[in-house]
Symmetry: D2
Subunit: 313 residues, 4 copies
C-alpha cells in the first residue's frame, strides 16, 4: 500500500487546485448563502402583478391524492393510520363527551403531487450552491436546502397544454418537450411570453393512466427535454411542473444522462420541480395564465414536500 | 344479567325515537353528502373579491417548522429520515453521475402548523354531518371527511391582534376570546366586519414560547372561548385559526367541556380549525385584511394536514 | 334526553352488583397481578426435564421471514429501510475507514411468525385477568399485558402432525382440530401425553401456500376448534401454535364466534398463541417431542412480537 | 482535469494488483457463499454438549426493554402504537364480542438488546465475505448478510464477570478487556476454557446507568479491546456480547480506529455481536457456564435484530 498514499495526496492537490481555478458549477447567482434559487425572483411586484391575472375567482386544486395505492418511484411507499388516543373501548373526554381521531403518517415525501426541493438532485454528490451531500445530507434531515426554506410562493403561472399541441388525449411516452414544442404550444394557446419568476406547468394527460395502467404510468412518460430545460432556465423561471411522475421525458433522450434534466434545473439553475400536478380541469377551462400559490409543509430538513398548489384565475 | 337486556332495548328505543324526532345535531346545512362545511361559502365571487385586497404583493409564510423538537400534543411525534437509494458507498446513476436524496416521514399529522379536518373532533362518536366514527374512522384511513376533500382555499383573511388588544407581548394563558374581545380587537384595528366565508386568525404571541418554555407552551394557552366560537359561527366564517397548539383557551372556561370549542366549530358548524399559525410578521406589518390561500396536502383519509398557508396583501 | 340518565344509573348499578356477585370471567388463577398466564407453569423443574428430551442436538428455526411480501391480516404492513448514517457520498469513520449499515423498521408486529401476547384479544373490551382495554390499551403502548413481561421460555414442545393424520400434504381449510383429532394425531405419532406447561404446535402444511396462493393462505385455514381449545386448556398447556396465519380454524365452526378460539385461550385461560410457526423440517425428521425455547423481543407495551422460536431435539 | 484520469487508472491498477495477490481480507473460511460466519461452528454435537450444562433448569431472560426512552445510538428512535382496527367507538366482532389490540412498530432495529448481523459493519464499504455495500446494501433491505439467515442458535455460553474481576459495581468507562483481563476473569471464576462455537458474554454492570445517567451510559463504556477481540477470534467463538451499548471499549484504545473492534469481529472474522445483554441476575447466581439460545426475528434484509436471548443452567 506504500504507493497509494503519495498518489492520493497528488490527486487531492490537483483537484483542489482545479477547484480554485474553476468556480463550483452549482454556485448560486444569489450568493453563497442562497438556498432557494430562482424563487428569489418572485418579488412583491411580481406577486402583485400576478394577482391582476385573476378575473373570475375560480380556484383549482392541483394536488392528486396520496395514499398506499398512489404509484410512486420505488421503494417509496405511503400509509396513514388512524387512532383514537385515550378512547379505547368507546371512551370520551369530559362532560361534552369529546371524541377525536388522530393520524400517523408513515411514508415517503415523494408520493403524490410533490415539490422537489433543491436538496433532491446532485451531480456526483455536489448539490445546489456548492453544497456537498457529505456535508449536509444527514440521516436525520438535510442541514441545508431543506424544504422548510421555501418561501410563500404567489406568482404568475403559465399552463402549456402539450396534449392539445400534439392533438391527443395523452401525449406518448418518450415525447420530449424542447424549445420548438414549448414555443409551439405557447403560440397555439396565445401565450405571449414566459417570464422571470414564472411557474410553468406542462399538461400531458398522463395522470389519466393512474388506476388504469400504473405500470405504464410509472415506468415512462412524456416530458421536458434537455434543450427545453436549458431554454426555460434561460428565461429564469422559478418553478417548472408537469402532470407526470418523472417530470422529464422517459426514456431519456439520446445522449442525455439519467435524470439529467433534473440536474440542469435543480443543482445547476436553482429551479424547483413539481411532479404529478393535476391541471386537467384548467385545460378544460383554458386557464392558461393565472395566479399560482404554493405553501409547502415546512418539514425541517425535508427533501421533498407533498403539496397541493392552488391556481386562481 | 337478565335485567340488562330489556333495559338496553328500552334505552335503544328511547334514543332511536329521539333521533327520529330531532334531526342529527351535526347535520350539514349543505346537504347530506357535504364533507367540507363552511368552506362551501368560498365562492369564486368571494375569491375574486379577496384578491382585490392585495395592494403590495408581499407574501407571508404562515407555517412553523415541523420536526422532532416541535412541541406537540402527546403522544404525537415526528421524524424525517434521509436516504440515498442505490448510492451506497458513493455510487451515482448514469454518465452525468446523478445522485439524489429522498426522505421518509414517520410522524403524526398533528405536529406543527396544522389544519384540523372535519373528521378530527366528534361528540360521543358523532362527527360532522351525522357521520359516526364506527362507520368512517377506519384504521387505514377515514372513509369520509378526510383532508383530501378540502378544496383549494383562496378567500379573505382577517387577523385579530389579541396581543395588541391586551397590550402585551404574549397573551396570558386562560384568557378567553369571546364576543367582547373579538369586537374590541376589530375596533382597535379598524376592521369593519367579519364576513361569511372569511378566515379569521388570532395572534397572541404564544409561539414565542417554543424553544423557551415548551412545557408552558404545550400545556395551556389563551384562545377562543365558547361564546366567541358561537359568535364567529353565527357569522358563518369558513376557517378559524390561532398561533397556539390548542386553538381554544386552556384551561377551559368554567363549565366548558374538554375541547368543547372544537366541538362547536368542527362537528356542529363545519368550521375548520388551524393551529400554530405564525402571524408574527403580519402583526408587525399591520396586515389585518388580506388574501388567504391554503392547499392542504391531499392525503387520502387523513384527519389533519401539516400546512403552510399563505397570506398576500 | 331526560329518561336516559336515570336508566344509565340503574344499568350501572345492575352491572356493578353483578360484577360483585360473579367473579370476572378472565380472572387469573395466578392472582390479581398476574400478566403471563400459563407460562407460570414453566418451572425450573419443567425446563430441566425438557432439556433431557435433547438427544441429537439438532436445532430447528421455526420462524418464517417477515417482509413487505409476507401475507398478513389487513391492514398490517411491513417494511425495512437501510441507511448509512454519516456516510453520504461514500464517507467512512476514522483511520480504519469504518462503514456501517443501520435499519429502520416500519410495520406491524403481527407480520410473519408471531407471538400473540395476553393483551391481544378480549371479550367486549375485557382482557386477561380482568383488565379493561380502556384502562391499559393506550395508544403509545399497553400499560399491562405487554410482551415485555413474557419470561424466558424453555419447556417441552410437542408437535402434532395434522397433515400426516389426515394423510395429506396440506390440510383443507375449515378442518377443525378438536379432541378426537388431537388424540388421534397423538396416537398415530406415539405421543403419550400433553402436559401442564407444554408448548403444543400443529403442523398442517399451510405455509406451503405462501407465494403460491397468498389469497387462499390468508383468508381461510385449518386449525384448532372450540372444543379442541377447551381440551388443551384443560391440560393446562402454556402456549399453542400452528403454521397458519389464523391459528384457529377459518371459516369458524358452526355457532362459534369470530376468533372465539382466541378468546378461549388468551383472555379466558391465559394461554399464549403462536402463528405461522414453520415446523416443516421437524415433520420430516419426525421430531415430535423436543426442547422448545422462545425469547420474544421485549418491546415495552407491545401486543405481539415477531418471533423465531427454537426447537432442539 | 487531464491529469486525474491517468492517475486514477494507475491507482485502480495498483489496488487491483494488490487484490489479486492478497485474497479479499474479509473472505470467509466457510466458502464464498457463507453468510453466517462462526455460527457455522455450532454443530448438533456442540448443541448437544451444551444442553448437558443445564443442571437446575433455571432460565434467564437476557433482553432489556425497547421503548422510546431506551438510550440508543443517534439518530435511532423507537415507538410502538396501539390500534383497535374496526372497533372505533367501542365496537366488537361477532356474537362473542371479540375485541383486539394490534401494534405498529416504528423504530430502528438497533434499540435495546440487539444482535449485530454480519451486514452491520464494514471496512471502507467492504463487508463480510468480500461483499461490497454497493452490491448488497439496498435501501429496501440487505440483499445479502441479512438477519434472516442467522440459524437457530443453541450453544455453550460463558459469562465473564468483569465487574467482579475489577472488584467494582460498574466497570469504569474506557476500561479495555484484553487477553490478560479475559484470562484473569476466567481464572477468578473457575472457567477452564473458551471454546470454538461458544457465546461469550461480558458483564460490567453498565446497564445500571440506564434511567440514572443516560448520557454517561450512551457516550462511553468499558468493553472489549483490540487485542482481546483478536484473542477471542483466535478461539473461534461464535458470538460475543456485552451489557453495554457499544460492546467495545469507548473511548477507543490508543491507536485503535473508530469501532475497529467491531471490524475485527464482524467483517474480518464472521463473529456476531450482542449489545445491551442483561446478565445481572446470572452474575448474582454465578451462572458462569450455561446453555445459550437465540432465535432472532427473521426480518428479511434486516441489519440488526432486537433480541431476547435465553440462558438456561
Amino acid at each position: 500500500m506504500n504507493l497509494i498514499k503519495p498518489l492520493t495526496l497528488i490527486l487531492v492537490f490537483i483537484i483542489t487546485a482545479s477547484a480554485q481555478q474553476n468556480p463550483c458549477p452549482t454556485a448560486s447567482k444569489f450568493g453563497p448563502d442562497d438556498q432557494i434559487g430562482n424563487v428569489n425572483y418572485i418579488t412583491p411586484a411580481k406577486t402583485l402583478a400576478a394577482t391582476k391575472l385573476v378575473t373570475t375567482g375560480k380556484t383549482y386544486r392541483l394536488g392528486i391524492e396520496t395514499n398506499k395505492d398512489t404509484p410512486a418511484y420505488p421503494p417509496r411507499t405511503f400509509a396513514v393510520t388512524i387512532v383514537q388516543p385515550g378512547q379505547t373501548g368507546g371512551g370520551s373526554l369530559g362532560p361534552t363527551k369529546t371524541t377525536y381521531n388522530d393520524d400517523m403518517i408513515v411514508g415517503w415525501a415523494g408520493v403524490g403531487t410533490q415539490l422537489d426541493g433543491l436538496g433532491h438532485i446532485g451531480i456526483d454528490g455536489l448539490y445546489y450552491n456548492c453544497n456537498k451531500a457529505s456535508d449536509f445530507a444527514m440521516t436525520d434531515g438535510l442541514k441545508k436546502l431543506g424544504v422548510e426554506h421555501v418561501p410563500a410562493i404567489a406568482t404568475r403561472g403559465v399552463l402549456l397544454d402539450m396534449a392539445g399541441y400534439f392533438n391527443t388525449d395523452i401525449v406518448k411516452e418518450g415525447t420530449a418537450f424542447n424549445r420548438a414544442e414549448i414555443e409551439g404550444a405557447m403560440k397555439r394557446q396565445g401565450i405571449k411570453s414566459i417570464e422571470k419568476g414564472d411557474v410553468v406547468l406542462f399538461y400531458t394527460g398522463w395522470l389519466k393512466l393512474i388506476g388504469k395502467d400504473n405500470k405504464r404510468f410509472g415506468s415512462v412518460a412524456p416530458g421536458l427535454g434537455r434543450d427545453g430545460a436549458k431554454f426555460l432556465a434561460s428565461l429564469e423561471v422559478a418553478i417548472i411542473g408537469a402532470d407526470t411522475w418523472s417530470f422529464e421525458v422517459v426514456p431519456f433522450e439520446k445522449d442525455v444522462g439519467v435524470f439529467e434534466v433534473h440536474q440542469i434545473l435543480i443543482p445547476l439553475n436553482g429551479i424547483h420541480i413539481l411532479e404529478n400536478v393535476n391541471t386537467e380541469e384548467m385545460v378544460r377551462d383554458q386557464a392558461w395564465e393565472f395566479l399560482f400559490t404554493l405553501g409547502a409543509a415546512r418539514i425541517t430538513g425535508g427533501v421533498q414536500s407533498i403539496v397541493n398548489p392552488i391556481a386562481i384565475r
